[in-house]
């Protein structure tokens, strides 16, 4: 009656047991120490791997960006230009990005079969289809859980949104709120990160010192992993307050701001660079809005005109500063846009054949994977879906996406166990 499913394979169960062994060791040590994690996780953390995701909200047109089809029925007026990699052409709307092509990897065979904004975005960020009963953690939460280093004092999962500073998001699902995002609007620091004005510097250090000493006495009697975690959270908070400057993009040189284009999106990209440099493990920058049912071409000229330079600057800077090997860059949307041009010169929702871009980490450089047919209506080679992409993001930063995550003693798959990473784009 036992079904022999893939997850019961000998290899899988062996590695799982190994993992369990690690965990139980951790738990034993955790009795007194801090929240111990597996050795593997620890060494991963030391490598300081990071992820930055560009969320092209509304659905970026692949035909106006990564997979142009000039001169065809579906191509529209958009022309293709050569890039820094001979033979690879992208849209003329991305001239700066084209010069960074040698860092990028274009995946032109994405097929997600979901044309709804909400559902598509859910799939792209969680690597799974939405189900009514179970919620899955987003890539940012998984990255924070597997990559974030608590000792930086900074949140591991940050959203940079045009909206404005908010509190904690709800993207972590069963991983728990610890890994939910902190959202930053523009260059505002996280909530409550300055002491109340009514408290003097002296009083501030005094009250925290008293709190520490009260804890010392308690912890000498009843100390467990959870009491440690609790007292540690206050120290983390203080560290975050000390490092508030990290969220202040104005601390970056004016010349850089100029280079990134002195506009909102440029500032957000620069902030992303600053956060990554300071050890934040996951940053998501949203660029809105690409839902171009009308006037697709004009809108893309405008939107990509804003996107191109700061994005190219960021990729270039990460590379020049030696961070690209440790930083995965992803440009994704909820879906692409129809090859068919509608009556309003628009393109509609289209998930059958579109593109996602990756760079950095263990991702192949200057590469194209997957291909659509001449008019871009179908994937003819290298078809991938959201689940495979999700695995690939994690693999690209050295996380074994086939391993389970242990949450409260329960093992939960990190990514959809039905699929695996796209090995072809990983080095």
């Amino acid at each position: 009656m036992h079904a022999k499913y893939a997850c019961q394979s000998r290899e899988h169960s062996a590695s799982r047991r190994r993992f369990l062994g690690l965990m139980s060791g951790g738990i034993m040590a955790g009795g007194l120490g801090c929240l111990t994690r597996g050795v593997a996780a620890e060494s991963l953390r030391q490598q300081d791997m990071r992820v930055v995701v560009f969320n092209m909200h509304g659905g970026l047109s692949q035909l106006e960006s990564w997979d142009p089809k000039p001169g065809t029925k579906t191509g529209g007026p958009t022309r293709a230009i050569p890039t820094s990699v001979p033979g690879i052409h992208i849209s003329e709307l991305l001239p700066y990005t084209a010069k960074q092509m040698h860092h990028l990897c274009l995946l032109r065979g994405v097929n997600t079969s979901e044309d709804d904004h909400g559902k598509g975005m859910y799939m792209m960020l969680t690597g799974r289809r939405q189900t009514p009963a179970v919620d899955y953690p987003q890539i940012g939460a998984v990255a924070a859980r597997t990559l974030a280093n608590d000792s930086t004092g900074l949140p591991g999962h940050i959203l940079v949104t045009p909206g404005g500073a908010g509190g904690r998001g709800n993207e972590a699902a069963y991983l728990g709120p610890k890994y939910s995002s902190i959202s930053l609007g523009g260059d505002k620091p996280p909530q409550n990160s300055t002491k109340p004005e009514t408290i003097s510097d002296q009083a501030e250090s005094r009250r925290h010192e008293f709190r520490r000493r009260v804890n010392e006495k308690f912890l000498s009697r009843q100390r467990t992993a959870i009491t440690d975690a609790y007292t540690y959270s206050y120290e983390q908070a203080l560290r975050l307050m000390e490092r508030r400057d990290v969220f202040d993009v104005a601390k970056e040189p004016a010349t850089d701001l100029e280079r990134y284009g002195n506009n909102d999106f440029g500032r957000q990209c620069l902030l992303a660079r600053r956060l990554l440099e300071n050890g934040v493990s996951f940053v998501q920058v949203t660029h809105s809005n690409y839902d171009t049912h009308n006037e697709n071409f004009n809108f893309h000229i405008e939107q990509l005109g804003e996107f191109d330079r700061p994005f190219a600057c960021l990729v270039n800077d990460l590379s020049e500063r030696g961070m690209l090997d440790k930083t995965l860059v992803v440009v994704l949307s909820e879906f692409g846009r129809t090859p068919n041009i509608n009556l309003y010169y628009g393109r509609d929702h289209w998930s059958k054949a579109w593109s996602v871009v990756m760079a950095g980490g263990k991702v192949a450089r200057g590469a194209v994977f997957g291909q659509t047919n001449a008019e871009g209506t179908e994937v003819v080679e290298g078809q991938v879906d959201h689940g495979q992409l999700f695995h690939t993001y994690l693999r690209a930063v050295g996380v074994d996406s086939g391993q389970p995550l242990v949450v409260d003693g329960k093992e939960l798959p990190m990514a959809d166990p039905a699929v695996g990473p796209i090995w072809e784009v990983l080095t």
Binding site: L32, V134, P177, P190, S193, K195, R206, F210, Y230, S233
Partner: protein
């Protein structure tokens, strides 16, 4: 498969029991708790061995021997299997804090703490339990418990928050049994707005049948069956897709439907009703077995399918709308599966339901469930204490399923009042005592051996019962297959019948139309004939031959003839349609007969299925029991192994400690020898120095004598030379008289000198001799000194060696201690699960919020304000009785909670696991700390005001007294000396800024780890 392999396979399954595979299916399997537990009891005789240090805790007489039968039975059960790690009763302050948090969701006030400690009544504990249970805060706490448990912190979409909270408040205030509440939640008439709040369970899950199925399992049955939606659980044998689908069948035909109705003012309003339609079970397949279709009617886990009477597809809805239906709603089905769900799921005879609630309330009091996680009841995750789970499940029914009454029993038990530190390790920080860990260990070893001895048998029983279960299930599945195909046939027949019915009704309509046309034509003919006769009559009377008149008559007659002529055709049409209608009626009757035939066949398959199902269930229960017995035994083995490891570690630490102490003693002894040795050495040294001086004198005398000797010898040789020279000269010179005289003088001088030389020689010899003697004395002294120095050195070395040993031992002791403490932590987890000790638990987000607000006086101030407001609106009669006063107080508390709920929401956002989680897993994050530190509110609340602790402390001048007040109020314990000192230091350093420093200290205590937890 040999026994060992078989055993390993079983272990493997157990290990994998909590592993999930495909979705986030939390591994949940079904089990018969009732039968399973009996089985386990039979398998596990009560433990008998207890160590010398395991005396049962002694409780103050005032709090002893409760009058509560369930509480006593809980304690008796634990006493029958005493755990070597029992803790004594917790300290009074800690105990009251625990009770207050568990029953009222807030910490006690300083006044309450003082009064409790001062209370000397013989039944103090039960008095305070009852006092807290009657407090309106207890109502709010239970409302919060129900809200969290039932709705998993989901947002309010269809049902307004205050309506929902007030609905729960009424249930709690009226002490409504949990089965009654559950029934209401699961079924109330849905066709109007009367029961809206109770329908929130469905409505705010968007009516989604899968979400509702999952939560029916999680909330009411303690089983998260999510992973069996699409396939049998791949790893846990007792978790089947059929179980999920059986539960799903109760709600699969219900959904949210928008209805427009007129409100009291006659305006159009829209609302969503959770409408139920007539049942129709859709076939399902496993994603792993594509193409094999299964069917199930509504069924509960471990119960056979619900037998429903069969209604023809056209007779499944009520004929008329029930009274009070909203206009625009559809008719309800004749048989409501939701009603059946409510009645049978929320039944006191449904053991899973009863156990689930008993376990949840147990968890509310004890911090964790006997089965934990709370929605993981399955064979591979047996209760930590199966007999206890069984006992409290019975006890909960005896308590009429009333939460307050049941909680009262739980907290009256001694088990509830245990402290956190096991007596065996209480106060042995230094391991210097002679606690007989090894002796306790021996008893534990005996138990371990017993458990190990049972292992293979239990595994064999499990394997056997598994195979019997599998066989039974195969047989059942086979009939399932027959049923599925019969059901498909029935579906087809029903479709045929509905089509036939449609055709028949169409034909009947045609017949009626034809008949009408026929009848109409006859009537027309008659009327025309009559008109023609009348016209003729009229013509006769008028006697006219008017052409127009004639023409009219002709027309009338013509029309009458035409109508008459059409009659045969119409008659034929009537006959034709009649035949057709009759034929179709026959067809309908045939289709109905066909349905009945198939149904009859289906019914007989059903009977066989039910029988096979009953067998399968019973086999499953036996297997589940065997599985639980095995798992319990395994956990017993691991527990004992951990305990032995811990005792060994403690024993090792203790042995090192003893050895260390002896080494410390011996180093002291050796060190005591040192002064005497050193003194002797000093004496020898000075003697040696004296002889050395003498030797030096002698040596210099020798030198002097030998120098004199040399000098004289030289002078003699000079004289000799002179004499010889003269002698030579005299021989050459004849007249050498004067020379001869000189020579003689020299010879004489020489002679004299020679004599002196002999004396000098003898002096030198003497000096040499005494120098030699002196040298010997020095050598002797030197030897003495060297010997003594060697002695001293050896003492020094012994000290050094012993010190090195001590330092080694200290290191080993530190290592052994930390190992022992680590092992203790593991055993303490077990001992908490075994109810021997209490454990540290984080406060829930709500407990943290309301406790903070209460300590800082904010909550009580709000209650006072609300009471004043109520008094203003409706002054109490001066002679109002205590009931009226209590009701007024309750009203004020409710209003205060409503006003402050926004703050609780902030805490929930920060500290809870968020929506859709059964429990709040503890986590600590920087944003929580940032809120407490910087949002300003907590710091502001900690300021003086509302007669709070800060205000009281500011009024006190004695610094130590302030320390006592702060620790007592905020942490429900007295400060240690060092803690008092800490507070006093702060106050002294504060100088004029005492108020500010007291506020900071109150804040610091609110932000401390100790405040965040309870034990």
């Amino acid at each position: 498969m040999g026994a060992a392999e078989c055993f390993n396979a079983v272990l493997q399954r157990i290990r994998l029991g909590s592993i999930d595979c495909f979705v986030v299916c939390l591994a949940v399997t079904f089990s018969s708790l009732a039968i399973g537990l009996k089985h386990i009891n039979a398998q596990e005789p009560a433990t008998t061995a207890t160590g010398p240090a395991t005396a049962t805790s002694s409780l103050p007489s005032g709090d002893h021997s409760s009058d509560d039968s369930l509480a006593n039975r809980i304690d008796q059960l634990l006493a029958s299997e005493p755990h070597p790690w029992n803790a004594a009763e917790a300290e009074a302050g800690q105990l009251l804090r625990r009770l207050s948090l568990d029953l009222r969701g807030v910490v006690p006030t300083q006044d309450e703490l003082d009064a409790f400690v001062a209370d000397s009544s013989p039944n103090r504990w039960s008095i305070w339990v009852d006092r807290f249970l009657a407090d309106p805060l207890c109502d709010e706490h239970l409302v919060n418990f129900l809200d969290r448990t039932l709705m998993l912190r989901r947002s309010h979409v269809q049902v307004d928050r205050s309506a929902w909270i007030n609905y729960l408040r009424e249930q709690v205030a009226n002490d409504v049994p949990l089965d009654v509440i559950s029934k209401q939640l699961l079924y109330t008439p849905w066709w109007n707005l009367e029961h809206r709040p109770a329908q929130r369970f469905y409505l705010d899950r968007g009516g989604d049948p899968n979400m509702i199925t999952r939560d029916l399992g999680r909330v009411f049955l303690g089983r998260d069956m999510q992973c069996a939606q699409c396939h049998d659980h791949p790893l846990v044998d007792d978790f089947k897709q059929m179980d999920y689908q059986g539960l799903f069948a109760f709600v699969s035909t219900s959904s949210l439907t928008e209805v427009t109705y007129k409100d009291t003012e006659g305006k159009d309003q829209k609302t969503q009703l959770y409408v139920e339609r007539a049942a129709g079970d859709a076939p399902f397949e496993s994603v792993f077995e594509k193409g094999v279709l299964y069917r199930t009617g509504p069924r509960f886990i471990e119960q056979t399918e619900l037998v429903e009477e069969y209604d023809l597809p056209d007779a499944r809805y009520a004929g008329t709308a029930p009274e009070g239906s909203l206009a625009g709603t559809v008719l309800p089905p004749k048989r409501s599966r939701r009603q059946a769900l409510a009645e049978q799921l929320a039944s006191r005879t449904n053991r899973a339901f009863v156990t689930n609630w008993a376990n949840r309330l147990w968890s509310l009091a004890f911090g964790q469930g006997l089965v934990h996680p709370l929605d993981m009841h399955h064979a591979h995750n047996p209760a930590s204490h199966p007999a206890m789970l069984s006992l409290i499940s019975d006890g909960f029914v005896e308590s009429d399923m009333r939460p307050r009454k049941f909680l009262r029993s739980l907290v009256l038990s001694e088990a509830y009042r245990r402290g956190t530190v096991p007596q065996i390790i209480d106060g042995i920080d230094e391991f210097g005592s002679d606690t007989p860990f090894a002796a306790v260990g021996q008893a534990t070893e005996t138990e371990l051996a017993a458990a190990l001895a049972k292992r293979e048998d239990l595994a064999a029983v499990e394997a056997q019962s598994l195979s019997a279960y599998q066989t039974a299930r195969e047989a059942w599945l086979k009939i399932q297959g027959e049923r599925a195909s019969a059901r498909s046939e029935l579906d087809a027949a029903e479709a045929v019948m509905l089509a036939a019915k449609q055709k028949s009704s169409d034909a009947t309509q045609l017949l009626v139309a034809a008949q009408k046309r026929h009848a109409d034509t006859i009537a027309r003919t008659d009327a025309l004939d009559k008109a023609s006769a009348n016209l003729q009559e009229a013509a006769k009377i008028a006697a006219t031959e008017d052409a127009e008149f004639q023409q009219a008559l002709a027309v009338v007659q013509q029309r009458a003839d035409a109508a008459r002529a059409s009659l045969p055709e119409l008659e034929k049409a009537v006959a034709d349609t009649k035949n057709s209608a009759e034929a179709l009626g026959q067809e309908l009757a045939t289709s109905i007969a066909n349905i009945q035939t198939i149904n009859a066949k289906l019914q007989s398959i059903h009977q066989a299925l039910l029988a096979a199902d009953a067998t399968t269930i019973s086999q499953r229960q036996q297997w589940s029991a065997a599985c639980q017995a095995l798992a319990s035994n395994e956990s017993r083995i691991r527990r004992h192994e951990r305990m032995i490891a811990c005792l060994q570690a403690m024993d090792a630490a203790q042995r090192i400690a003893v050895e260390l102490a002896s080494q410390v003693r011996s180093v002291a002894e050796i060190e005591a020898e040192m002064p005497a040795a050193e003194e002797l050495l000093a004496t020898l040294q000075s003697q040696w120095t004296a002889t050395k001086n003498a030797e030096q004198t002698a040596t210099s005398a020798v030198v002097e004598a030998s120098e004199a000797l040399q000098r004289q010898t030289f002078e003699i040789s000079q004289l000799q030379q002179s004499w010889e020279a003269l002698d030579h000269s005299t021989k050459l010179v004849s007249t050498a008289e004067p020379l001869l005289a000189a020579q003689t003088a020299i010879a004489q001088e020489l002679e004299a000198r020679r004599n002196q030389l002999a004396a000098a020689q003898s002096t030198a010899d003497t000096a040499k001799q005494s120098a030699e003697i002196a040298a010997q004395a020095v050598a002797a002294r030197a030897q003495e000194w060297t010997l003594q120095e060697a002695k001293r050195k050896s003492i020094e070395e012994r000290i050094a060696t012993t010190r090195a040993t001590i330092s080694q031992l200290e290191q080993s002791l530190a290592a052994a201690k930390s190992l022992a403490i680590e092992k203790q932590a593991a055993v303490q987890v077990d001992s908490t699960r075994q109810l021997a000790t209490a454990s540290l638990q984080p406060l829930s987000p709500e407990q943290l919020c309301w406790s903070t607000l209460r300590i800082t006086g904010v909550l009580d101030a709000y209650v006072r304000n609300e009471a004043a407001e109520l008094e203003k609106q409706a002054p109490m009669a001066p002679d109002a009785d205590s009931n009226a006063k209590a009701a007024r107080h309750r009203q004020a508390v409710r209003a205060a909670f409503d006003k402050l709920r926004g703050i609780a929401d902030v805490y929930v956002t920060l500290y809870s696991s968020g929506p859709d989680n059964t429990e709040d897993d503890f986590f600590a994050s920087a944003d929580q700390a940032l809120y407490v530190s910087n949002a300003g509110s907590v710091y502001a609340w900690a300021g003086p005001g509302n007669d709070n602790v800060t205000q009281k402390a500011i009024a006190i001048t004695d610094n130590a007294e302030i320390a006592r007040l702060l620790y007592w109020t905020l942490l429900a314990r007295h400060p240690t000396e060092a803690e008092t000192q800490l507070v006093v230091e702060q106050l002294i350093a504060a100088g004029d800024g005492r108020s500010a420093v007291i506020q900071e200290m109150v804040w610091g205590l609110l932000a401390s780890a100790e405040f965040r937890f309870t034990n």
